[in-house]
């Protein structure tokens, strides 16, 4: 069966460190690096990728991608990185299980009082207008693109919001998050998650009614998210 789509009794899938086993009697066994759970369900279950913000605990929608090396960026650059997705199982349109696909860490972005706790991920930055498919070495990874809309500076990471963001897919089944616009001004990085896909030819993942499961393809409502984050000068090296 395809990785994302509909799970029927008797199916079982593994997405990186998460595993889902749905036996013919309706017993659903799921596990991720943090816990495992059993529940009884009937019929088809939707399996969708989701932003990595809920597991092991939900501390907000911010993700901080720290690059493996510092990088000089300027206006007009498109910077790619990979981050893991979580797996969401849906039944009758409502989420029933959320699974982490890899172990994760958190970090504090900004000051102790005014900062924000963000999901931490370390990734290699790749500059270029074409998506770096070779960096998608695992099926739980999705590409995120940062478009530098203003300024030029050395950066070592970008914090951005991924709360209700849309996830796109291409013909090859690869996953993409919406484009993140980054402006750098006076040593402050401001990142804004847009509602635009990061490149051409992508289709948003559509969540449909549970009778047909959750399927790929088609244009569902695109959720426009997020205010930008104004962060402290520490992001500049």
């Amino acid at each position: 069966m395809p990785l994302w789509g509909t799970l029927r009794p008797g199916d079982s899938i593994g997405v990186c460190d998460a595993s889902i086993k749905y036996d013919p009697n309706g017993l659903l066994e799921v596990s991720d690096p943090y816990s495992s759970e059993k529940l009884v369900v009937r019929g088809q279950i939707g399996v969708l990728p989701a932003p990595p913000t809920r597991r092991p605990f939900d501390l907000g929608p911010t993700v901080y991608v720290e690059f493996t090396h510092k990088i000089f960026v300027e206006k007009g650059d498109l910077l790619w990185a990979t981050i893991p997705v979580e797996v969401e199982l849906r039944k009758k349109g409502r989420p029933i299980v959320r699974l982490a696909t890899v172990k994760s860490k958190y970090t504090l972005v900004g000051s102790l009082v005014e900062g924000v706790i963000a999901r931490y991920w370390r990734a290699e930055p790749i500059v270029g207008s074409n998506p770096p498919y070779s960096s998608l070495d695992r099926d739980c990874m999705a590409l995120v693109a940062f478009y530098i809309s203003e300024g030029a500076d050395i950066i070592r990471g970008v914090p951005f919001n991924l709360g209700q963001t849309m996830i796109y897919t291409d013909n090859g089944g690869r996953l993409y998050f919406t484009l993140v616009e980054v402006s750098i001004k006076d040593a402050i990085i401001e990142a804004k998650t847009t509602s635009k896909p990061p490149t051409y030819g992508l289709k948003p993942l559509r969540k449909v009614s549970e009778g047909r499961g959750a399927v790929l393809g088609g244009y569902g409502p695109v959720v426009v998210v997020n205010r930008g984050w104004r962060l402290w000068p520490g992001l500049k090296t």
Binding site: L59, K103, K105, Y106, L108, V109, V113, V116, I117, Y120
Partner: protein, 292 residues
Amino acid sequence: MAGAENVTARESIVGMAGYLKVNALKIAEAVAILVLGALIAVLVRSSMRRALSVRLPTYIYKPLENFTFYSILATAGILALYPFGLNLGSLLVAGGFAGIVVGLAAQNSLGNVISGLFLVIEQPLKVGDPVTIGNVSGEVIDLRVMSLLIRTWDGYLVRIPNQTVFNSIITNYSGTKARRIDFIVGVHYDSDIDRAIRAIKKYIDDNPYCLVSPSPEVFVDEYADSSINIRIRCWTPTRMWYPAKMDLQTGLKKALEKEGIQIPYPQLDLHIVSSEPVFRVETCNCRREKEA
């Protein structure tokens, strides 16, 4: 008869007209003061509502607003009597006495109300915050007009008067986004310190609770009597402090044992060098014997 009544009525009307003629200025003055007072009261009330309704709960700003509104109206009423020769001094003295009596009787209650107001304005704590006030620790359940309600960690409800809260040292644990866990693990003097530190760092690294930044610290803190004490500091999201502390303190022992690192208990080594006594005490009177 009817003529006499008419005359009386006419006289009274003339008398009233004469009174009005003589006091017209005073009446106009009083009316003007009343209208002006009412206008000021309405203006002050609406601006107070605009300014306070977004910052204060209704139970605080509404009485404050009403009190100010009626105080201005009452002041205007008293001032309106002034043109007619009312002695303001005696009124103020009477009012002052009444104020003192009421103030003394309700000193504590008023103190609590005012402290509650300052707590709401200054906001050192809010409902839901984990706090320590004096020697009471728990979660703030309600901030009332006269008191603060705290549910302690072991589930009791504690009511603290607002005045006590205001005068106490308040520690609010949710004031920052992250909190630090700081504790010591002692390892045996025979243990490989580098290995112990590596094992602790790995455990922290695998632990989702410990933040990447501010980075955790693991270092030898003290060469104690029975152990080498390693200090472990790790920052966690404020909400996760307690589960993180439980997890670290429980899991680290297992992680160290897995690496063959011993956590010693206090011990005292007694070294006996020889079975003979160190000092020999001679009880004889040797000098006298020698002299003899």
